[in-house]
């Protein structure tokens, strides 16, 4: 099953797919790899996501697959180094009209769906998305029939091994409901580079909830693109936890394409040591009367860096838009750094848009107060940090995903 991380075996791919890979390659040549002159790559070097790495030991992969297949998931799709591992996955019988399968399978069984949607939501000039589009090897294909509700969350377990590109495609039919859990991980001490894209297409009234966690791997470099298009009345929520790994970058691009659509984006970054975590969001209100909410929080200790660039665009016709964005940060050491850049580009005049950004340190008064009531210094710090991070953790349903988040937060801080 060893796989270098290039494309799938090119010989068996349909022509339309090869053509798309060619198009992506041309885009990449045209854009080049972004550098520090690019606003979006000011605090992180894109080249660091484009290095090659050796595959992780198979025993580590199996161990992580067993440890991180979440009990609350209805199905678990395991990918290691960009390759679907049916042997490590936990699958359920297919539902009528819906599909939960690997992209490599879907290319045979659901070719028309894949062909008509693959890559359609990618931001045009993004080198990283183009690189993924050119070289992806596998991923999750999730198609949910109209009015269907998945019996439970579908988990993507993305185990870093070498250098990989995954592409997941979610087609949420009208009024369907689905939940996706993503866990990205790699064995400790081994460089692994993962670049994944999840594309979600939400038809009228569909609801997709996405929760993602980078769950370990101190040498894992993970770039994760998340693109979603929301038709009328659909709801998309994502919550991303970047609480481990060497480098983490998420780019979330959401288009509100119909009225009464609602996007709820949130994330918690907790970095220490020399780690770097970088969050970019681009929320485009193309339709009026849609809503977006963003809450991103970061904790940075050691010599780490946590950055947030949040762009909200409201197009000229998107009247009655409601957009809120909040970025709250906590610096836990003198040498850590936080960069927070909210950007609002509003072309409509009848809108409610707000953004707020705060960066501070742990409240010394609170810290002393707790100690003077008998808390150890570390206990007091941990309590205050938990209080800061609490809002995004407490909103999670009880379960092993939440426990994992809590454990990792404790370890990181």
């Amino acid at each position: 099953m060893a796989h270098g991380g290039g494309g799938v075996s090119v010989g068996v791919e349909p022509h339309w797919l090869l053509a798309r890979r060619d198009e992506a390659e041309r885009t990449l040549v045209r854009t080049g790899i972004p550098d520090g002159r690019d606003e979006a790559w000011k605090y992180l070097d894109a080249q660091q996501f484009l290095v090659s790495a050796h595959p992780s030991p198979p025993d580590d992969v199996s161990r992580l697959a067993a440890a991180l297949s979440l009990p609350e998931a209805w199905q678990v799709m395991v990918f290691a180094g960009g390759v679907f591992r049916k042997d490590l996955s936990r699958l359920a019988p297919q539902l009528p009209g819906s599909a939960v399968e690997a992209m490599s399978t879907a290319l045979d069984t659901d070719a028309p769906s894949v062909g008509s949607h693959l890559g359609e939501l990618d931001p045009m000039d993004s080198a990283m998305f183009a690189a993924n589009r050119e070289r992806w090897s596998d991923g999750l294909f999730l198609e949910i029939a109209a009015d269907a509700t998945l019996p439970g969350p579908v988990q993507i377990l993305d185990i870093g091994s070498g250098s990989s590109f995954l592409r997941h495609l979610v087609l949420a039919g009208p009024r369907s409901r689905s939940e996706i859990l993503e866990v990205r991980v790699a064995p400790d001490g081994i460089l692994a580079v993962g670049r994944s894209v999840l594309e979600a297409n939400l038809q009228q009234g569909a609801s997709v909830s996405f929760r993602s966690l980078q769950a370990g791997g101190d040498r894992l470099r993970s770039w994760a693109g998340l693109v979603a298009r929301l038709e009328r009345g659909s709801e998309f929520s994502s919550r991303q936890f970047l609480v481990s790994g060497e480098l983490a970058r998420t780019e979330t691009v959401v288009e509100l394409a119909g009225p009464e659509a609602r996007a709820d984006l949130s994330g918690l970054t907790a970095v220490s040591g020399a780690r770097v975590a970088d969050i970019l969001t681009l929320v485009r209100h193309a339709s009026g009367r849609a809503e977006s909410r963003q809450l991103f929080q970061a904790l940075a200790g050691g010599k780490s860096t946590a950055s947030f660039l949040g762009i909200v665009q409201v197009e000229r016709d998107a009247q009655k838009t409601s957009a809120r964005q909040s970025n709250r940060n906590l610096l836990l050491s003198r040498e850590a750094s936080i960069n927070s850049r909210p950007q609002l580009e509003i072309w409509a005049d009848d809108v409610k848009c707000s953004h707020g950004s705060t960066t501070g340190r742990l409240d010394e008064k609170a810290l002393f107060f707790l100690r003077s009531r008998g808390f150890s210094e570390s206990g007091a710090r941990a309590l205050l940090v938990r209080a800061f991070a609490g809002e995004l953790v407490e909103g999670l349903p009880e379960g092993s995903f939440r426990s994992l988040v809590e454990t990792l937060l404790e370890e990181t801080l």
């Binding site: 008064k365 107060f369 100690r371 003077s372 210094e377 309590l383 205050l384 938990r386």
Partner: protein
């Protein structure tokens, strides 16, 4: 009174920033005693409480402090607390996101661990908490709220006294606990203190006004002025101060 000495301050000097505030303060507190420290604003009353608590914003520049025979200043704030020192603060801090009951239970269990007692969890803790809250007439709903967040002045002070009732300190400093309180809250706080009075414990009541001392009867009243205790008397001294003000004492002292 002839209880064992709990706290002995000799020639205590302390600075807040560049300003020297305590300038040679002497005070001996024995078990079983209640001391009142009165003084005008700026005399160093709050600084004294903060120095006893170990607040890092105050620097001790001279003198000694013995607590139960140990050098107080060698002890971290949490050790002072676990070893029986409690400060009821004038301005209790608000901590959003930390539930009051969680805070109270953790603090109590840190103290219990220190004393070699098993931790109190769940039911037994809640039972104790309910009893103590009742004793200070505190709304039970406040136990689940974030610590002091959105509490009224009276609720915050009741919460301080509640912490004292749970932690059962040996030496409690009440730093202007009466400030900003209506008469009901004042009485509840005083009742809380009185319920803890015992031959083992001592209290130092720091106040600007005499009225709290109608409810907590002190054995000694000290007048603090310009960082030193300039007069010590019985509870009648407090009444005299109330009637005459501080000036008759401080005019010649500075």
């Amino acid at each position: 009174m002839s209880g064992e000495i709990l706290l002995e301050l000799k020639g205590l000097r302390a600075k807040a920033g560049e300003t020297e505030i305590l300038k040679g303060l002497d005070l001996t507190v024995r078990r079983g005693e209640v001391h009142a420290i009165m003084g005008p604003n700026g005399s160093g009353k709050s600084t004294l409480s903060q120095v006893i608590a170990g607040h890092p914003g105050y620097e001790v520049t001279g003198g000694t402090a013995q607590y139960k025979g140990k050098d107080l200043f060698s002890l971290a704030p949490e050790i002072r607390s676990r070893d029986g020192i409690f400060i009821a603060y004038q301005y209790p801090v608000e901590i959003p996101g930390v539930a009051n009951n969680y805070f109270l239970r953790t603090a109590l269990n840190e103290h219990r661990k220190h004393k070699g007692l098993p931790e109190l969890e769940g039911g037994p803790f809640l039972k104790l908490l309910r009893e103590r809250m009742k004793a200070v007439h505190m709304d039970p709903a406040l136990s689940g709220r974030s610590l002091n967040e959105g509490f009224s002045g009276g609720q915050k002070k009741r919460n301080e006294v509640l912490q004292m009732l749970l932690l059962e300190p040996e030496l409690a400093f009440l730093d202007e606990t009466d400030s900003g309180l209506d008469i009901d809250a004042l009485r509840d706080c005083a009742d809380g203190v009185n319920s803890l009075r015992s031959p083992e414990r001592a209290f130092v009541v720091v106040t600007h006004y005499q009225r709290l001392l109608d409810h907590i009867i002190p054995d000694f009243v000290h007048v603090l002025h310009d960082g030193r205790i300039i007069r010590t008397g019985s509870k009648e001294l407090a009444l005299e101060l109330e009637a005459k003000g501080y000036e008759w004492l401080t005019a010649g002292a500075a």
